[in-house]
Structures are given as C-alpha cells and as structure tokens.
C-alpha cells in the first residue's frame, strides 16, 4: 500500500474528502453565479441562517451515529423557545435553565421509551414530536415576543458572526473534542455500529442511548434559546419540518444513516451545503419554490454517493480476501 507514488496517495487523500470537495464546488459555483455571494455580509447571513439547523443537525448526528433517529429535535426546539419566552419575566438565567431542562426532559423521555419500553426510535421520537409541538401550541398559538434588554443586547451583538452562529460553532467545537477524546464517544460509535458486540464488550448500551437522546434534547433546548436570540420571540411553529432537514443535511455530510459511521466536521459541511442551496437561489433570484426540488436532487445525489462509497469498500475487502 505504501509503495504507491506520492501523487497518487495525495489524490486519494483528497478524494477521501468528498464532502469538502462538494462544498468547495458549491462555493465556486456560487461565487461565479453571483458576485454578492462572497461578500462578508452574505456569508455572515448564511452562517446565521444555518445556525439553528446546525445545532439541531449536531444533535441528530449524535443520535444517528448511535444507531437511532430523533424526529423530535425541531418540535422540542420550538417548545423550549416558548418555555423561555413565557418565563423570561423571572429572569433570563432561570428562564434559560428552564428551557434547557425542558429539552433535556423530552430527550430523557425519548431515551427511556426507546431503551426500557423497546419502542423503535423512529416511532418514539415521532410521538415526542407530536407531544412537544402540541405542548408548545397549547402554551401559545402565536409567537411570544421577548422584550428583555439582555436578550435584545445579545441579539444585536455581532463579532464577525452573530451569537447563534457562535453558539453553533461552540457546540461543534465541543462536540469535535468530545468525539476525538472521550470514552463515551467511542461507545456511541460502537453501539451504533454493532449493539450486541458493544453489549458483550461491557458497554452499558442503555445508558449510552439514554445519554445520547438526553443530550439531543438538551441541544434542541439550546437551539430554542438560539431561536429566541435570532428572532426575539419564542415561536410554537418554529422549525416546522426541520426534523427531516437535519437528516438530509447530515446525509449530505456523509453520515451513515444506519449508525456507527460519520464525522461531525463533515456533517457540519453538509448543513452548509444544504443551506447554500437556498442562499444561492435567493441571490440569483430563482423562484424559491424550486429550492425544494434542488434540495431533493442533492439529497438523492448524496445518498447515491454514500452507497457508492460503501460498495467500493466492499469490493476492496473482497479483493483483499482473495489476494
């Protein structure tokens, strides 16, 4: 293997970064199509638009790598944003804690239903989506405006990027360090890759799963706070349909939907690619209704790419076995 000439190895390394290549391709196309794309203003805007979906996608990534699904992320975000908005009179700090706790509790419930109740993740979190969205709407059918000076200050603060973007980047940074260094992260991959083996190796599978769903809930709660920082209001209908967008974004980012494989950094790039489609179309004044169709094509392309990648490894193993 190491006898290959250096350029060939370099090319191979580059092609391993297929998601990055696609992202660069998108940026290149975008800057050709519209001179407005590569302006600081637009990039800040793009990142800001991606922040909420990005935080939720991080939560989704964690759950999917562990072999599950969380369809409740967006609804829990909306619920948390309302919990914050309707309690902000108590003080920003306590309200934020309540919002996060709400998210965490939803996630914990998911985890318990899935591990102890043995309900399939898709269904359990689907039910939680209905529960959280319903609770959010029964708190208030309309958005609740937040007129708190602290929130207003955070909202108007911007240093290169806006606060929600900073929150998103912080989440990704912590996540990357955690994935690279911690034992629990290894266990998450192991449970997603082969639950039975992980169990036999002494990994506490149920505990890992409950933890993963709880963290997903907490991150959704955090996204709820970021939602308030971005819109100055808690919104019961915030993030409608985003649960599927998060999945689409991480699939574009090369995450294996059956668990056990994926890189957070790539998932993040997937979010950017997904959001850029809308951004580019806005800049080039294409009818926004076409966005969904283009997104659909990108998802299918990403799915096909994932399958091709997998088939290539299978073939390589076969060849090695015969060699």
């Amino acid at each position: 293997m190491s006898t290959q000439p250096l350029p060939a190895r370099f090319v191979k390394q580059v092609f391993k970064q297929d998601v990055l290549l696609i992202l660069i391709g998108f940026v290149a196309v975008a800057s050709v199509l519209s001179p407005a794309f590569l302006t600081p203003n637009n990039l800040t805007n793009l990142l800001s638009q991606s922040a909420l979906l990005g935080i939720l996608a991080t939560a989704q990534f964690l759950v999917v790598v562990c072999g599950g699904f969380d369809l409740s992320v967006a609804a829990v975000m909306a619920l948390a944003s309302l919990v914050f908005a309707s309690n902000v009179s108590v003080g920003v700090g306590p309200a934020a804690v309540m919002a996060l706790a709400t998210g965490g509790a939803c996630g914990l419930f998911n985890g318990l239903v899935i591990t102890k109740g043995k309900v399939q993740p898709l269904i359990a979190t689907l039910a939680m989506m209905g529960i959280a969205r319903g609770l959010a709407l029964s708190i208030s059918e309309k958005s609740i405006l937040v007129r708190d000076p602290v929130v207003a200050a955070i909202r108007s603060f911007s240093w290169v990027v806006t606060v929600p973007t900073m929150v998103w980047f912080a989440v990704v940074l912590v996540g990357m360090v955690w994935f690279a260094t911690s034992r629990q992260a290894l266990h998450v991959y192991a449970v997603g890759g082969n639950e039975q083996t992980a169990r036999l190796a002494g990994v506490r599978v149920d505990r890992i799963k409950i933890g993963v769903y709880t963290v997903s809930g907490l991150l959704s709660g955090l996204a709820g706070l970021a939602l308030v920082m971005r819109a100055s209001s808690g919104s019961p209908l915030g993030g409608m349909g985003w649960e599927l967008d998060t999945i689409a974004a991480i699939v574009i980012g090369g995450t294996n939907l059956f668990g056990g494989e994926g890189k957070l950094m790539r998932a993040l790039m997937g979010v950017l690619i997904y959001q850029m489609i809308a951004n580019i179309m806005n800049l080039t004044r294409i009818d926004p209704f076409y966005q969904d169709i283009v997104r659909a094509c990108v998802i299918v392309a990403a799915g096909t790419l994932g399958v091709l990648r997998q088939r290539r490894t299978e073939r390589r193993v076969l060849q090695r076995r015969l060699a």
């Binding site: 269904i123 689907l126 689409a248 169709i293």
Partner: protein, 332 residues
C-alpha cells in the same frame, strides 16, 4: 405445578390474548370511549364521522403497509396525495386556473385532470422504487427527497395559492351518502378489502412477505425481488393519488401545506397496527384497526373538547403506550 387444568386454561387465555392483543386494546378503547363520552362516541352519526375522517389516512395506510412489508418506507406518500389533489382540483376547473398566479397547470377538464394525477403518481412510485432498487439509496432518504420535490412541484403548479374551486364532481362525490355513509367510506373499505385480499391470497402478497422476511432467500427462490419491490412502491403511490382524490372530495379545498400531519399519522397508524418497520410482518386487518384506533382517539378528544394542540400531545403519549403494550403482549 399442582393442577394442570386451570393453569393450562390460563395459559390458553393468555396466548389468545397475545394473539389478539390489538383487538383487545381496540374494544377496550371503544368501551372506555363510550363510557366517558356518555354514549356520544357510540352514536351512529359519530361513528360515521370517524369513518369519513379515516378514509383519507386509511387509504394512505394501505399503501404504506405494502411498502413497509418489503422493509421500506414511503415518506413521499402524503406529498403524492397533496400533489394529486392539487393537480386534480386545479386542472379540472377553469375558474381555479384563472385564480392561479404564475402556476403552470392548464385547464384540462375533469377526467383528463384525474388521469394526469394518477399517471403522475404511478411515475412517482416507479421512480421511488427504482431509486431504492437500482441506486440502492435507503428508502428513508429516497422518499424523503421525493417528498421535498413533490411539495415544490405542488407549490409551483398553482403558483403557491390554494385550490378552492375544484370541479363540482369532487364535493358531490364526497358528500353523496348511501345508507347514511358517505361514498369515500365505501371506497376506502373496498380498497381495504382488495389490498387485504391481495396480501393474503395472491402470489404478489406472498412475495412481498418473502422479500421483507429475507430478501436474499427470496431472490435465491427465484422471486423477482426488484420488480416486486418497484411494484409495491408504485401501488403505494397510486393509493396516495386515491387518497388525494378523497381528500379533495371530503374537504373541497387543498393547499400545498394541507398534508403536514398526514404522513406521520399514516406511519403511526400502521405501527400501532403492528406492522413491523423491519419488514415481513403485518396485516391489513390490523393496520386498519390501528388506523381506526387513532382516528377514534382523536374523535373522542374532540367530543371531550380537548384543545386540538393538547390532542397532539395526548396522541403522542397514547401511541407510545399502545406500542409498548402491544409489544409486551406480543412477547415470546
């Protein structure tokens, strides 16, 4: 270990209960619902309402079950229904076409509009199936993408506006009653019988179960796995178009956003009805019971004046509880 008689009886009763867990839950629910609603739930007119409301989701469930039996899932089925309803409603009515701003649909007349909608659905189903079978994209992703694309097309078709003025035929069909029940209910029940028969008593149905149970063994037994799978997705999409027709007939109005709750109710109904997400297990009868159970629950909460938002939360809890109960009774 003393008297085998009573114990054996107990075991028989237990296994009987296990076999018919869903039916027990269903009848239990009916009794509870009848009691706490003071009989209003069981009034014939109310039961007719439940059936009427079930007809759309019920037809979608029939399609979803077929796809789930081959270990797939169709997330685009609600979008197919909505797009079909939009196409039928808009292209069948000159008045509607004049109301559309920037839509691409021309006026076609009633039957051509219906034909176009069904032909489109078949095409969607075939494409879904081919994505799964040839490109080997997980069904979840392939149909999710299809759903996105279809919602985009639905919006473009009418320029983003609602369809308010479909041809008279649709509401006429929707509210025509025979023996006190609206026509859509009969259409749903007829389709349930047909699909139920197809799954239990035809070679196609047997092949679906074989593919879902073990795709490799099915292939090695000479079953044309790809063809049958594509057929399942196609029939599913076709039923989606039928559901779209019923939706338009029942409500007379459709917007691209109308389908938001439909998809998840469909999947939840099938799963509560014991259809396995991993393929190979499930029956139409139980899936229909599951659908009626969820529809009955929502109706009961309406009667009890539970706010629609709390309803969503309560249904979520009850779906989870029903599945856990079903799984527990189903064990061993």
């Amino acid at each position: 270990m003393t008297g085998p008689g009573p114990q054996a009886k107990l075991r028989d009763a237990r296994s009987l209960a296990q076999k018919h867990a869903l039916l027990l839950v269903f009848f239990g629910f009916i009794i509870v619902a009848g009691t706490i609603s003071g009989g209003r739930f069981l009034a014939p007119s109310n039961l007719a309402v439940i059936l009427f409301q079930t007809s759309v989701v019920g037809v979608l469930v029939l399609g979803q079950v077929m796809v789930m039996l081959v270990a797939g899932i169709d997330l685009s089925i609600a979008a197919v229904a909505i797009l079909a309803a939009v196409a039928m409603g808009a292209a069948s009515s000159e008045r509607q076409i004049m109301m559309n701003l920037g839509g691409f649909l021309p006026f076609l007349g009633l039957w051509p509009a219906i034909a176009i909608a069904f032909a489109g659905a078949i095409l969607v189903g075939v494409v879904n199936g081919l994505m799964v079978v040839l490109l080997r994209i997980p069904a979840f992703i392939a149909t999710l993408a299809m759903s996105l694309a279809l919602m985009g097309v639905a919006t473009l078709a009418t320029g983003g506006g609602p369809v308010n003025y479909p041809d008279r035929f649709f509401p006429d069909f929707g509210f025509q009653r025979i023996l006190g029940l609206p026509l859509p209910v009969y259409l749903f029940l007829a389709l349930a019988l047909i699909v139920g028969f197809a799954l239990a008593r035809t070679s196609f149905g047997t092949r679906l179960y074989a593919i879902g149970g073990n795709p490799r063994a099915a292939r090695l037994s000479g079953i044309p796995v790809r063809t049958v799978t594509v057929l399942a997705y196609t029939l599913c999409a076709l039923l989606g178009a039928v559901a779209g027709f019923l939706f338009l007939a029942r409500t007379g109005v459709v917007t691209p956003g109308s389908g938001s709750g439909l998809l998840l109710t469909t999947i939840a109904s099938a799963v509560v009805g014991g259809v396995n997400l991993y393929g190979g297990k499930g029956s139409i009868f139980n899936a229909v019971i599951g659908t009626l159970l969820l529809a009955g629950l929502s109706n009961l909460m309406n009667i009890m004046l539970v706010s629609p938002h709390l309803q969503s939360a309560v249904s979520g809890l009850i779906i989870v509880a029903a599945i856990m109960l079903n799984a527990r009774l189903d064990q061993e």
